[in-house]
Structures are given as C-alpha cells and as structure tokens.
Symmetry: C2
Subunit: 482 residues, 2 copies
Amino acid sequence: MTTEAEEKALRYRRAQSVTTAEEITEKENKARRLQFDKPCHKPRDSLFSWSSEFTNFTGLVNWGFLMLTIGGLRLFLENLLKYGIRVNPIEWIIVLTGYNEGNRYQFPSVILLIFSVVPAVTTLIIEKGVAVDILSEKLGLSLQLSNILFVLILPVVVLHYKGPEFSFVGITTVCMIYLILFLKLWSYTQTNHWCRNGMKGKMAKNKLRRQSLSAPNWKSFDDDKNDAIAAARLVKYPDNLNLKDLFYFLLAPTLCYELNFPRTTRIRKRFLVKRLLEVVFGVNLVLALFQQWMIPSVTNSVDPFSQMDPIKITERLLKLSVPNHLIWLCFFYLSFHSFLNLMGELLHFADRKFYGDWWNATNISVFWSTWNMPVHVWAVRHVYKPITERGYSKVAASTVVFLISAFFHEYLVSVPLQMFRIWAFLGMMVQPPLAVISRFAELRLGPRYGNMMVWSSLILGQPLAIMMYYHDYALDHFKPIQ
Amino acid sequence: MTTEAEEKALRYRRAQSVTTAEEITEKENKARRLQFDKPCHKPRDSLFSWSSEFTNFTGLVNWGFLMLTIGGLRLFLENLLKYGIRVNPIEWIIVLTGYNEGNRYQFPSVILLIFSVVPAVTTLIIEKGVAVDILSEKLGLSLQLSNILFVLILPVVVLHYKGPEFSFVGITTVCMIYLILFLKLWSYTQTNHWCRNGMKGKMAKNKLRRQSLSAPNWKSFDDDKNDAIAAARLVKYPDNLNLKDLFYFLLAPTLCYELNFPRTTRIRKRFLVKRLLEVVFGVNLVLALFQQWMIPSVTNSVDPFSQMDPIKITERLLKLSVPNHLIWLCFFYLSFHSFLNLMGELLHFADRKFYGDWWNATNISVFWSTWNMPVHVWAVRHVYKPITERGYSKVAASTVVFLISAFFHEYLVSVPLQMFRIWAFLGMMVQPPLAVISRFAELRLGPRYGNMMVWSSLILGQPLAIMMYYHDYALDHFKPIQ
C-alpha cells in the first residue's frame, strides 16, 4: 500500500546520495567479496532453526523404513539363534487335521464341517414350507430360530463330550464356519421374511391403485416398459427358494443375503492365479511365523505375568506385540483380500468391498466399521436398522451391536480353548469408551493422533488379550516348570 | 473425435427405443433396489486391487512411527532388565577429567589443552614477522609449516611417553581440539598469504592504471564512492594481525579464516538459553546412552567377532547399529546445531550454515559435502581449489581431499586408542567407490534408493568400524573370559 511513498523516499535518498544501513551492509558484503582473503561466509541460519523455515525432511521417511527393516532383520536373526528352526510342516498337518496317534483315521472337525449342510438345508425346507403356506409365518419363524440357535450351540455341545478328539485349530475352524453359517442363515431367513412382507404390502397397494383412476403418462410408460424389461430378468420371491441359490449364498463372500447379487461377466485368470498363490504361500508364511516367533514369545511371557512384575510384563507385552501384529496384518490381507477375492472371482460375485481403508481410520469407530465390511454390513442391515426402525434410539442399537459382537468374539476364543473367561468380551466392551477417547483425540489434537490411537489399540490390545488367555490356559493345563 | 457420430447414434437408438446393454444393467440395478430384499451389494473392487486405483496409505506412516517407538521402548526395557542401571555420574567425571586414585591432582589433558595457546600465538608472531618484513616470505612459510605440524604431532608424542596418565575421553578431546587448531592455523596462514599476494598484485595494477588515461564516468564514480564508504569499514591486511582477531577466529564456529566475518547485531537471549539447555541435557543423554546401551552391546559383540560366525556377527552388528546410530544422531545435533550455534550467538557470528540437509542426500558424495559444512568448506577452500587452480585435474584434487580426510579420521581414532590399525582409514577409502555405486543407484532406481544407500552406509558402516577397533582393542588389553 505504501510502495509509492517508499519508492518516492528511495528516489529522494538516491538523489541526495544518502545511503541506508541496508545498502551499506549490501555494499559492505560486495566490498568484502572484493578483498583478497577469499571470504566464504554469509549471514544465514542453521536449517534446524525455526527462522530458517526449512521443512524438507523427506529423507527421514526412508530412515524410518530402514530402521524398521534393520530392527526386523535383527529380531529374525536373534530368533533363529535362540530357538533354531522350529518350522515343522508335519506338525501343521497334525494340528490342521486333528490326525495323530490317539485318534487315527478320526477327523471329528471334518465330520462337523460336512454336517453343517444339514441345518442349511433345514432352513431352506422351513422357508419353502412357509412360502407354500404349509407352515404359518409364526411357526416358521420359531422353527428357523431354533435351527440357527442349534447351529451356534452344536460345536459347544460336541466339544463338551468329544473334546479330547479335537485339535485346537480344527475346533477353531469349526467354530468359525458355524458362526459364519449362523450369520448367513439369520440373513437368509430375515431377507425372505422381508420379501414376504413386501409382497403382501404390494398386493394391498395394487388393489388400491386399481380402484383409483389416473391419466396414463406416455413418457413414464416408456420408462416403465424399460423398468419392466430389467425387472423381468430379476429373480423374485419365492423363486429364489432353491438349493442352487442357497449354496451360492453360503459360498459367496458375503454375510448378507439378497435375491439378485451383482455379478461379473467373466473370470479374470491372472487375477485368480495371483490370489490363489497368495493364499497358498501366505498360509505357509503365517504358520511359519506362528511356530517360529509367536509360540516362543507367548511361552516366555507366562512367567512374568504370573509374577506380576510390571516392567517385565510391559517388556514381554511389547516383545509379543511385534510378531502378533505382523501375523494379524498377514492374516488380514490373506483373509480379506486374497481369499475373499478368490471366492468372489470364482463365483462371479461383483461386490468386492471386503474392507475399507481402516489404516487411515482417525478414530476407533471408523476402524470397527471399515476393517471387516461383511460383518459390519451384516450388523447394520440385520441388527442396527431393524432396531432403529422399530423406534429405538441409535445408542440402544449400537449397544446391541456391540454386545452381539463381543459375544461372538468370546465365542470364537472360549469354545476352542474350552475356557470361559471374560477377556475377549471385556476387550470388545472397552471399545466404546476407547472410541470416545480417540474421537476426542482426533478433534482436539488432529486426525494424526486419532489414527495413532487406533494403531496403538490394535498393536497393544491384541497381545494383552492373548496373554490373559494364555496365562489362564497355562495355569490350567501345565504344571509349574520350576 | 467421434463424439458427434456417437451422439447421433445414441439419439437414433433413443428414438427407436433400442436399449443398450449398459442401460439394461443400469435399469436392472434400479429395479434391484426396488425389490423387497433390501439389497446392500454393489459391483466394486477391493482397495488393494490395482483396478481400484486407491492410493491413500498415509496411515501407514503413523504405523511406522508407532512400530519404531514400540521397538525402541522394548529395547529400553530389555536393556534395563538385563543390565540394571549402569548410568554412573561419578564415572563420567573420572573419565572426563582423567582424575582417579593413580594420578591425583594431575590433569594432563587440561594442561595440554591450555598449552594449545602457545602454537596459536607462535603463528601470529611469525605472520607479523613476515608482514613487517623481518622474515622473508619463504622462511615464514617453512616456520608456519613446522609450527602447524608440531600441533598435529604433539598429542602423539605426549601420549607415547605419558600414555597411562590420560583418560580415553581426555585424550580424544585433546586430539580433536589439536586437529581443529591445525585446520584453523592452516587457514589463517594461507589466507594471510593470499592477502599479501593480493596486495602486491594490486599495487602493480594501480601503477599500470595511473599510467593509462580514461574519462571519469560520473555514475560509476558515485558507486565507487559508496563502495569506498563500505570498504573503509572493513579491516585490511595487515591490520588483522592482532591477538583479539586471532582468538576470535580460534573460538568462532568455523575453520576458514577471513578478515571480516559477517556479524549479527545482537544476541538473542531465548535462543542462547535454548541452545545452552540442549548442550547441558544433550551431553548427559549421550553419556547415559553410551554407558547404558552402547558399552554392553559392544562388549557382548566381541565374542562372535572372534569366532567369525557370520550369522552371529550380523545379529550383533545389527543390534549395535541401533544405539550407535541414535548416539551419532544426538551427537550430530548437539555438536552441529546446539554447540556451534551457541558459540556463534555468543560471538555475534552470523554464518550458521554448519550443516546442509544431508538427511535428504541422494548419494554419498552429497552426504559428505553437507553433513559437516565447516570441514567441507575448509577442504574446498584450502585444498581442492588451490590444487585445481594450479592446473591439476578435479579427480586429483578430490583424491587428495579424501586422503587427508581419511588420515584425520584415522588420527582421531588411532591416537586415543594407541592402536595404529587401518580400519578408520579404510572406512574413509571405501567412500569414493560407495559414492559411485550410490550415484548409480540414484540414476537407475531413483533418488529414494540413493537416499536409502546413504542411510544404510551410515547406520551399518559405523558399527562395523567400531567393532573392528573394539575387537582388536579387546584382544590386546583383555584376557579371554572363558
């Protein structure tokens, strides 16, 4: 604004040959450079000084990456020197199939897995019965409820009587598959129920419409015709109630049933082969990491936990958190990217949103709604929305979702371990308060701190829960080694 | 280009009510959404699939930071559990001052440090002698040369005869200070030599100019006047040859002498206090890290090095590299930012470029020319340029700089350890080939890989050299513990 005045003053000073202090300094520097001592110094700030306004620290990202790599490599070598090679493929086969000296040619897990077809088909039969009016709506619903509860309880009962014949991995797989079956059949039953209700409502509406008189709109008639062409291709209730449709849904990488899944037009061979290789090598990597790194770390951590020495517990927990977290990351990629995409590609299933970008989650709520999309979508569609639609508050609906989620986490841990502790349930129940804290951190300190809290709870929370279970398990099953 | 034709075809199709496949799919999706099964699936790709074009992985930077923190914390606790608290301030005082039971009230390092004033003043006297023509240029030069070589040799000789009276840290400090003195006196002598030559040249030129006749240019006359005002404020040879000027240079945070250093107008108190606190706390931090982390790591690494077991050596090297690197980073910040800025602020010294952004260096040459600016500027001004100005090639000049640098590295390690091995010298001599390789990596694989090579050589090279020395030192001084 004052440039004109300044310029005028400058011109005046020049005319008067008055030299300002800056000009003298400028001249002085010039004069210095004309001296014979070859000066090499200039007035300037250090880069770390705020006044230098230097901000390029991109090299430090490479530094971080390198330090992580070096740390990882060192841990790998230390592990190798301390424990030798513990990877043993024969052990995997025993653990995975439950085959060993004691129960030769008995594969109880495999039998249970095959048996899972029975309740699935039962659901279809009941649904068909309701559709053709052999069963009343009310009776059908109670039969379905009993059937899916049976799915949930069966592994518990079988394990109670035949426990020693199961391997740990076998029974975990059974529990996982039966839980997935439970969620799928719930969705199947509820969706068919919606369809029946919808059909009844439509019939009532059509009756009303036929009674009223309205001038036909030709443009909308044309649209209606196209809509009709499209709609004609769609499967309608009760045509969906057949074995092929049911088994497609049971195998499809989703927990939510619908009558017309979006489909792809072809199977991409390269994509399929890549995912298949990832699954094959990835499973071996996870098993190797587990045998070589995780088991020794967990075993070594029990003693400090019994002694309740806080420094030792923290040290062990931090030591355990690294392999546990890496295995979890591998497991996530293998399950949610490689395996589910493999199934999707094989079944022409077009919706591949199995996970959101949870790694950028700025609070814990976002993490829980993005890391496992099939379960999240199922919970929203089959628990949250039905509750809010009945007029209950969002808080109530969220609480129910959390309780169910906590129950299933406990189910997946307690049943295989045959130890009904409350650690997994508690682990889930601290999530809502953590979500509030992380949301607060995000708002007050910025999204970076929210994201760090999400990562911290993920990296440190899991090994804590694992230690709790393993500690109790070791106390129950092993004698002190002293 | 074909949009017009396409549009025409589309209009035609619309007119004919012909519906394309995409339109049918669009309609189908719309129709699906109108069904009663509340569909929740859409055709879409997983985020990790290339086809999704998703690239936001900023959360992974936070992940890396957190994993480093957790790893660091774990190492800290492990160290505490394994070695207890080893930090011992009394030991520092003994090590730093060389005070112990054996040589009570004898501080040989301190005496040597005070004695360093003698050769400095000698240089001034000789320089003065040459300036007032008591000494001839040639005699002066050889006296100066003898004097600065004496500076370099004195610590070696004293240590040879009085070795056991010195502490390791004491003699390292003496070597460091005497080396800095050597470089400063070299610069002082050479700069004064340039000034004398310049004055002689100017006198010859002025004689020539006075003989020639030229019309005075008024504009340039005005400039000349201003120049003259500026130049009048500057100190000119031989007015600079006094004790005050010499001691200012010896204390100033630079190795290059010039007659008129750029000056600041005031001392920033806040800045001064911050740097002072950094120095006080930083030195304690480095010493604590050294006692607690570095010494046990080095001690534990000697055995694998003797056994020449490659896996164990690698593991130990990686384990040592972390504390060593962190200490080096602290040392760098303390010396080049905190301490030199403190001295600069106290002495009104305006040129604070003590380091460039070496953390972004994309090849090893850039690293060597930016991490230690005082030495780099000295080497360019007093070795590289004088050699190239005499007509020698740049390669020859670079080689000489490297040889001198390698010699000084060896000097700083071998003299205090009293072990004339070649490891530090070799460490410096592998830098030119590494520079070529890293330049190649930068050009072929991109700057990120060049930068990673710089960091790797820094993180892994130093502990390797330290291990070599410590191994030899332990073999000489300790008996096997078996």
